[in-house]
Symmetry: C2
Subunit: 229 residues, 2 copies
Amino acid sequence: MGDKTRMEKLAVDPCAFIRPSPSSGVLGGVARATRETILLCEAAGYDVVLVETVGAGQSEYVVADMVDLFLVLMLPGAGDMLQGIKKGVLELADIIAVNKADQAPDQGRRAARDYASALQIMTAADAPWKPPVLSISGLLNQGLDDLWAQMQQHHKIMIKSGLFHERRQEQTIKWMWAMVEDRLLSRFRANPEVKAALPDLMADVKDDRITATLAAEKLLAHFGMGDFI
Amino acid sequence: MGDKTRMEKLAVDPCAFIRPSPSSGVLGGVARATRETILLCEAAGYDVVLVETVGAGQSEYVVADMVDLFLVLMLPGAGDMLQGIKKGVLELADIIAVNKADQAPDQGRRAARDYASALQIMTAADAPWKPPVLSISGLLNQGLDDLWAQMQQHHKIMIKSGLFHERRQEQTIKWMWAMVEDRLLSRFRANPEVKAALPDLMADVKDDRITATLAAEKLLAHFGMGDFI
């Protein structure tokens, strides 16, 4: 699932199916469509399903809860370039690959070393999988075999440790609750009385005229749940 | 708010008030009690309110959404000791202090350096505040003046950049919605029909007999929201 125009070779491979998803709209809706497309691809017999995120907003967190392996692609870059990678993304990473290693080999090596030490701090000593950092070049087709080997190794270790099955079960239950929550909140937000009261209450809360607790109670009362604290 | 028995000097200071909170029970309940106690302390005229977390579970994330400054205390420790700090905690940190620096100065310095480089990767180059890493010794009262100076500096910069007010507003609105969500979900989970259906549905989802989507729909139907997809 991604952008066909950047995948010249893959797009013409009869064994591959590429499908762009809308990146706009309600996150919940996109998440649901993506999840169900993954399921459909699996059912259609595709044994490897790649989901590409836009790298902005909350999309990584949502996708991390759908996949077996989360690969983070980075660019080499010294000093300031390295700073400010999105909070949380390092922690989702099962593998980090620094791409375009051909263009700036020194910077690429430095970036790989920095990411490796940051990852080391964040990984438990007894974790069955320790996220590796690889240097690759998509353009020159360098390091891709090694990357694929690492991905297969991850799969093998996760299966063997039982974590593969466990992660999938957790993801599914989490997803069930996310949908329940999503629906409850949509229904709540769509309620005419709640809608009418919300702007004033938000302003009152922001300007400290009423507490968040009281505002929540008022909203719930509009929804017919005011009697239950 | 913390454990009196470990605060011999502070506990007898007439200007200080220490209150332990229950660390067990529903997280939402503890969060609410803690939030309201902070408010109460502010209203009583205490100008500095310290909230101590147990350092386990989800407590850091919850508390990070209540405070103006999040200070992470670490211990020096080489190699394996450094690994596996809780995922996400580094990203919450406004300041990191490596305590017990007197006991293992070399390890303390190494720990401080490692945290500093990890933080650097995670902080945007143009962020108004770049989290510093300090070495302190609570026992020998070393570095505490510097720590307090950094905390005041953080406060000053946050006020000046407008982020202080912005963060508080965001926290309050987030808290209002968290309470609404919490109440909706409690009501949902307490519904007798939902309760009765849940165990079988969870088992079916875990064993792949039905999809998460279908399970969510069935639960919502039990709650009287089945007509609305």
